[in-house]
């Protein structure tokens, strides 16, 4: 299994294949289709992450010292972005999630999703994922 750093580096490499922003987003969208999602009837308000223009639901599981995430969104780009995060965080120890640097976001040019703009809630998602992990540290 690859390390936390290796997983991020793999994503960076994947993104380097494309020059065009539209293609990068196509990839993000495709990623979103792959994740374990949360069916509409299983979504609950306490899973909702505030601060996004689109709605984001996040559910976590803690199993054998590792964290696992289920997520969904009514916007497919948002869902793709969570998928990226899950790709990196899934199966990691809570400590890693809380402490380690998420350098890939800037490198692949998604830093705008980190801006304090309340339209896109990457900041909120990362924060929630770290908070969930913190419960098990």
């Amino acid at each position: 299994m690859s390390t936390f750093i290796e997983k991020q580096e793999a994503i960076i490499e994947d993104f380097e294949l494309f020059d065009d922003w539209m293609e990068k987003y196509e990839m993000i969208i495709d990623l979103g289709k792959e994740i374990r999602s949360i069916p509409e009837n299983k979504r609950s308000d306490d899973q909702l992450i505030h601060g996004c223009q689109s709605r984001v639901w996040l559910r976590t599981e803690y199993k054998e010292s590792a964290m696992y995430f289920f997520a969904d969104s009514d916007a497919i780009i948002t869902k793709g972005i969570i998928a990226l995060l899950i790709k990196v965080f899934d199966g990691e120890k809570p400590e890693t999630i809380v402490k380690e640097d998420l350098f890939f976001i800037k490198q692949i040019g998604l830093q705008e999703h980190l801006s304090p703009t309340r339209a896109n809630g990457l900041v909120g998602m990362v924060k929630r994922m770290k908070m969930e992990a913190l419960k098990h540290v």
């Binding site: 922003w21 539209m22 987003y25 196509e26 223009q53 709605r55 916007a75 497919i76 339209a119």
Partner: protein, 408 residues
């Protein structure tokens, strides 16, 4: 032939930011309902103020202070004249539309008594809802909402039945920032006055798209923001009829708004200063004056009617797209289009448009009750100013199609 006329190209050349590139693409700025761009002369006016006349105003005997005061008060006159107000003292400088409405809600609304009624409409911006909710709760007033139909037009029949002697103020937007609907404010004002009710017109979306004459309209208050009329941020206007402003207690206390302060008793200054506590946004006021001068220097009639052409063209092209739902299909509309495509989230489209250099707004546009009414999470809104071109609409439509091909 559908081509941008030369006079528009010339106007456009006065706005430096429009030459910017975004993500390597030429910027297409279709977020004018959120804020407008500034012509060079406004930007230069701000600069020249700081470079050669910056001073605090109204009480200084020294040269800079006198020049700055004169320029600030000249700006007030320009605005008075531009919106057809009777007196300079009826023009209050505020921070913006929101500040203006809060001032009236608190100061005029504070005079109202239990069971008095306030009317707003279902298409109001949060800035024309929340201030009234706050004062209604405080003073036990009743806040009623004029309904709209599926086209996004006011239900005027119901409105007629809602006004009564109990109605003290109707606060309504001239043009909806989400739907583009132009409301029949003249009729509303007449009807309101026949019951002795006052009317506040939220002109945030109308002042930059047409000629306003508050005396003709006979509205009691008219409010707008500088940043939406090619002026600076942090400045806005409250026009109010003198007799009402005289009646209203001051909103904020501080320097400039007093005649005489003692710990025993404080008396307040004359209008407009009674409502302008503290050092104002001096450069904001002056440069808003410059924006008004700019508007007076161009052929606005031509410019505004060109905006309609942009609207018609954009709507036509949008309607050709599969699963397109236009939100806001009133008979009388200003130059903005709000829409959704199928079940695609507006955020997704907005994100992909941005990557193609196109700035549109997505979301609830600070009109959540309207989103609830249409039962949608938000819309995608493209809003035009006269400096936008027909070619930009083409770029936008193509980019939209490309985005949809990815999202579907």
């Amino acid at each position: 032939m559908n081509q941008t006329p030369d006079y528009i190209q010339e106007l456009r050349s006065k706005f430096p930011i429009l030459k910017t590139e975004v993500h390597g693409k030429a910027l297409v700025y279709f977020d004018n309902a959120a804020t407008t761009q500034k012509p060079l002369e406004v930007i230069e006016r701000v600069q020249s103020y700081y470079n050669s006349e910056n001073a605090n105003i109204h009480r200084g005997v020294h040269h800079l202070s006198q020049v700055a005061t004169q320029d600030y008060e000249d700006a007030r006159k320009l605005i008075q004249n531009y919106i057809g107000a009777g007196k300079e003292s009826e023009i209050i400088f505020t921070k913006g539309t929101t500040d203006s409405i809060n001032l009236v809600a608190s100061s005029f609304g504070g005079l109202l008594q239990e069971d008095d009624e306030i009317l707003i409409s279902a298409m109001e911006h949060h800035s024309n809802i929340v201030p009234w909710q706050l004062i209604a709760r405080k003073n036990k007033l009743t806040l009623k909402v004029i309904p709209i139909n599926r086209n996004g037009e006011l239900d005027m029949e119901t409105f007629e039945t809602m006004v009564s002697e109990k109605t003290k103020i109707i606060s309504i937007t001239h043009i909806s920032n989400t739907l583009g609907t132009i409301n029949p404010i003249k009729d509303i004002i007449k009807k309101a006055h026949s019951f002795g009710a006052k009317v506040l017109i939220d002109g945030a979306q109308s002042i930059q798209h047409g000629k306003i004459n508050v005396s003709d309209l006979d509205c009691d208050f008219f409010v707008f923001s500088g940043h939406k009329i090619f002026g600076p941020t942090g400045i806005g206007v409250l026009y109010g009829k003198e007799e009402l402003l005289e009646l209203m207690p001051p909103y904020q206390g501080g320097g400039d708004m007093i005649k005489r302060v003692s710990f025993k008793e404080t008396t307040f200054n004359e209008l407009p200063f009674k409502f302008e506590a503290g050092t104002p946004n001096i450069v904001g006021g002056i440069a808003l004056g410059t924006a008004i001068k700019f508007l007076k220097s161009i052929d606005t009639k031509q410019a505004f009617s060109y905006e309609k052409r942009l609207l018609n063209y954009a709507e036509e092209e949008l309607k050709k797209i599969d699963e397109m739902t236009l939100i806001g299909t009133a008979a009388e509309k200003t130059s903005l289009v709000s829409f959704n495509v199928g079940k695609i989230h507006p955020f997704d489209i907005g994100t992909l448009l941005d990557k193609q250099g196109i700035a549109v707004r997505t979301g609830h546009h600070c009109t959540q009750p309207l989103m609830d009414f249409f039962n949608i999470p938000g819309t995608l809104r493209a809003s035009f100013a006269f400096y936008n071109t027909i070619e930009e609409v083409d770029v936008f439509i193509n980019a939209l199609k490309r985005s949809l091909s990815i999202l579907k």
